[in-house]
C-alpha cells in the first residue's frame, strides 16, 4: 500500500490498554492464583498511508478506536506495537514524540484551549519556542493567523471564555497551523459544534487546505461530513480498518457491509421520494474487551456466513489505494 508519494505511513499499528491490577489481585497473583487480566484492544494491526497533499477520512462509530489511532499518529499516545513514520522517520521514539511536524485539532474547543492564557499567547508560544517567529515578531504573526482563520486580529488579548465554540475552534486551527505542520490530525473537529457552525468550520478548513496544501487525517463518525473534505476514506470497525477507498466511490457504492450500513443509517431527506428512509445498524458495537470470533462485524452483518463466524478476513489491497476486509463484499458498482 505504500508508494513514493506517501508522507505518513502507519504499519501494523496496535494499541492495547492493560487494566491496572488491584492490590487484591496482585496479592492473589503473587500467591499463585490465576488472575484474569483482559487487555482492551483499542486498535489492532492497522496499516495505512497518507499521500502528500491528500486528506484521508477515518470513519467509524464511537468506541471503534479512531481517536486512539489519531492520537498515536499525532504522537500523543505511544503505540503498543507497530510504527508510524513521517517521511521515513519514526514519529515516536522511546515513548516520546520526536517531531512537531504533525499537529492536532481536538474535538472539544472548550477543553483544548488553556482558560488562563490569552489566545494570542496560545497561538504564538509553540512557534516562538521553535524559532518559526521571534518574540518581537509575534504580534504581527498572531494577527496574520487570526485573520487567516477569519477572526478579528484585535481579539488576540482576549481569553478563551470570551469566545463561542466555533470561534474557539478557529483559534485551535490557527494554533495548529501556525506550527507549519506537514500533517494535520483533526479529531472530530466539528462534532461538538452546532450544525450551522459546522459548515463554517468545514469551509474554513477546505479553504486553508487549498491555500496551504495541507495533508490531513480527518477523523469523524459522520460519513457525510467526511465525504465533503476527504479524498480517500478509511472505515474502521472495532479497532480494525475494514475498507479503504476514494471518498466518492465509498459514498456511492461501498463494498463492505459495515460501510453500507453506516451509509444507510444516515437519515436522508429525499424530496423526490415519498418516504424518509434510514435504517439503523442492528445491534450494538461489541466490547473491545471481548471481540467476537472471526469477522468482528458478523453478529450485526446481514451477509454473514459460517466462514465469517470462523475466520477473520484480511485487509486485501485493491487498485488506487483501495482495500477491503470482507468474505462477502457487496458487488462492485
Amino acid at each position: 500500500m505504500t508508494g513514493p508519494d506517501d508522507i505518513l505511513v502507519a504499519e501494523a499499528l496496535t494499541r492495547r490498554f492493560d487494566p491496572r491490577l488491584t492490590i487484591g489481585d496482585r496479592i492473589a497473583g503473587a500467591l499463585g492464583a490465576p488472575v484474569e487480566r483482559r487487555p482492551l484492544r483499542a486498535v489492532t494491526d492497522v496499516s495505512f498511508a497518507i499521500r502528500r497533499g491528500e486528506t484521508l477520512g477515518l470513519v467509524g462509530e464511537s468506541g471503534c478506536g479512531k481517536s486512539t489511532l489519531g492520537r498515536m499518529v499525532a504522537g500523543i499516545l505511544p503505540q503498543t506495537s507497530g510504527r508510524v513514520t513521517l517521511d521515513g522517520k519514526p514519529v515516536m521514539a522511546r515513548g516520546r514524540k520526536t517531531t512537531t511536524r504533525i499537529q492536532t485539532v481536538f474535538q472539544d474547543p472548550f477543553a483544548s484551549l488553556n482558560p488562563r492564557r490569552r489566545i494570542g499567547e496560545t497561538i504564538a508560544e509553540g512557534p516562538i519556542a521553535h524559532g518559526i517567529v521571534t518574540r518581537a515578531g509575534a504580534p504581527a504573526f498572531i494577527a496574520e493567523w487570526l485573520a487567516r482563520v477569519g477572526l478579528d486580529p484585535a481579539v488576540a488579548q482576549r481569553f478563551p471564555h470570551q469566545f463561542s465554540g466555533g470561534q474557539r475552534q478557529r483559534v485551535a486551527i490557527a494554533r495548529a497551523l501556525a506550527m507549519r505542520p506537514d500533517l494535520l490530525v483533526c479529531d472530530e473537529p466539528v462534532a461538538s459544534l452546532d450544525v450551522s457552525i459546522q459548515a463554517q468550520i468545514l469551509n474554513l478548513f477546505l479553504e486553508l487546505r487549498q491555500a496551504l496544501g495541507l495533508t490531513c487525517l480527518f477523523i469523524s463518525h459522520d460519513l457525510s461530513v467526511v465525504r465533503h473534505v476527504a479524498d480517500r476514506v478509511a472505515i474502521m470497525y472495532l479497532g480494525r480498518i475494514v475498507e479503504v477507498g476514494p471518498a466518492a466511490r465509498i459514498h456511492a457504492a461501498p463494498r463492505h457491509p459495515y460501510a453500507r450500513a453506516l451509509l444507510d443509517s444516515v437519515p436522508k431527506l429525499r424530496l423526490d421520494a415519498t418516504s424518509v428512509t434510514f435504517r439503523p445498524i442492528a445491534g450494538e458495537l461489541p466490547s473491545p474487551l471481548a471481540p467476537p470470533a472471526g469477522c468482528a462485524f458478523h453478529p450485526r452483518c446481514p451477509r454473514a456466513s459460517d466462514l465469517c463466524r470462523r475466520e477473520r478476513p484480511d485487509l486485501v489491497a485493491g487498485e488506487d489505494g483501495a482495500a477491503l476486509a470482507c468474505h462477502h463484499p457487496e458487488p462492485a458498482a
Binding site: T104, R116, E125, A129
Partner: protein
C-alpha cells in the same frame, strides 16, 4: 476582575478582610502606637484592665503593658503566619506538581515521603525540630513551614493529575513545548485557586502552632508574641485570667479573619460557583 467582584459580594469575605486589615494595621503601626519596648517594665505587675488608665488592658505578671504586647504581637503572629505559609506552599507545590505531573516512580517516591511526614503528628514533629535547632523566631517559623506542607502537596498533586491529561496540555505537548513550560505556564495557573484557598487554612494553623509552642514556653521568649503572653498568664490563670484571655481573643479574631477570607476566596475562585462561565 470577575473573581474580585464575586469576592466583594460575599459578606463573609468582607468581614474577614476588615478583621485582617485591622490586625495588619496594628502590626504595621506597632512602633507608632507603642514606641517603647513592649517587653520593658512599664508599671506595677498584674493590674486589671481599666484599673489604671495608663494600661487599658492591664499589665502582666512582670509588670509589662499587655496592650503594647498585643499590638506588637500582631506583627509577630502575622509574620510567622505569612512566612511559614509561604514555606509550606512552596515546598508543597514543588513536590505536588512533580508528583502529579510525572506520575509513576517519581509519584511513588515523593508520595511515600509525604506520607512519612503526614503519619507523624504535626505538633510532635514541630517539638522535635525546635528541640534540635533551638527556639529562635526564625527556626520556629521555618519549622512550622516544614510541618505544614504535606496537605498542600497532596492537593496540588490531585489538581495536576486531572489537569495533565486535558486537551490543552496535550496540544502543547504536540507543539513540542518542554515539561518546564507545561508545568509552570499551562498546568500550574489552573491548579492554583484551590491551593490559594487552602493556604488560608495553613496560615491559621501556623499562627495556632506558634501559640501552642509559646504556651509550652518553647517559642522564642525574646519576641512579644501572643502565645508568649498566654504562656505567662498560665501561672496566674485562676486569679488574673485576663492575662491569657486577652491574647487568646486576639488569636481567635485573627484566625476567624483568615478563615473568612479563605472562604471568600473559595467562593470567588471556585469555577462551579462563579457565574458567567
Amino acid at each position: 476582575m470577575r473573581a474580585l467582584k464575586a469576592y466583594l459580594r460575599s459578606p463573609a469575605a468582607l468581614i474577614g478582610s476588615v478583621i485582617l486589615l485591622a490586625v495588619l494595621v496594628m502590626g504595621l503601626g506597632a512602633a507608632w502606637f507603642y514606641p517603647s519596648d513592649p517587653l520593658g517594665l512599664a508599671g506595677r505587675p498584674l493590674q486589671w484592665p481599666g484599673q489604671n488608665p495608663r494600661f487599658p488592658l492591664g499589665t502582666d505578671p512582670s509588670g509589662r503593658d499587655i496592650a503594647a504586647q498585643i499590638v506588637h504581637g500582631a506583627r509577630i503572629s502575622l509574620l510567622i503566619g505569612f512566612v511559614a505559609t509561604s514555606i509550606a506552599v512552596v515546598i508543597g507545590i514543588a513536590i505536588g506538581s512533580l508528583s502529579g505531573f510525572y506520575g509513576g516512580l517519581v509519584d511513588t517516591v515523593l508520595m511515600r515521603v509525604t506520607e512519612a511526614f503526614q503519619t507523624l503528628p504535626n505538633f510532635l514533629l514541630l517539638l522535635v525540630l525546635v528541640a534540635v535547632f533551638g527556639s529562635t523566631i526564625q527556626t520556629v517559623t521555618i519549622a512550622i513551614g516544614i510541618v505544614s506542607w504535606p496537605p498542600v502537596a497532596r492537593l496540588t498533586r490531585a489538581e495536576f493529575m486531572t489537569l495533565r491529561t486535558r486537551d490543552f496540555v496535550q496540544a502543547c505537548r504536540v507543539q513540542g513545548l518542554g515539561d518546564a513550560h507545561l508545568i509552570l505556564r499551562e498546568v500550574l495557573p489552573n491548579a492554583l485557586p484551590p491551593v490559594i484557598v487552602y493556604a488560608s487554612v495553613v496560615m491559621a494553623v501556623a499562627i495556632l502552632l506558634e501559640s501552642a509552642l509559646a504556651f509550652l514556653q518553647l517559642s522564642d521568649p525574646n519576641v512579644p508574641s501572643w502565645g508568649n503572653l498566654i504562656g505567662l498568664g498560665r501561672n496566674v490563670l485562676r486569679t488574673e485570667w485576663y492575662v491569657s484571655a486577652i491574647p487568646g481573643l486576639a488569636i481567635l479574631l485573627t484566625i476567624l479573619g483568615v478563615s473568612l477570607v479563605g472562604q471568600g476566596l473559595n467562593d470567588a475562585l471556585n469555577p462551579r460557583l462563579a457565574s458567567g462561565r
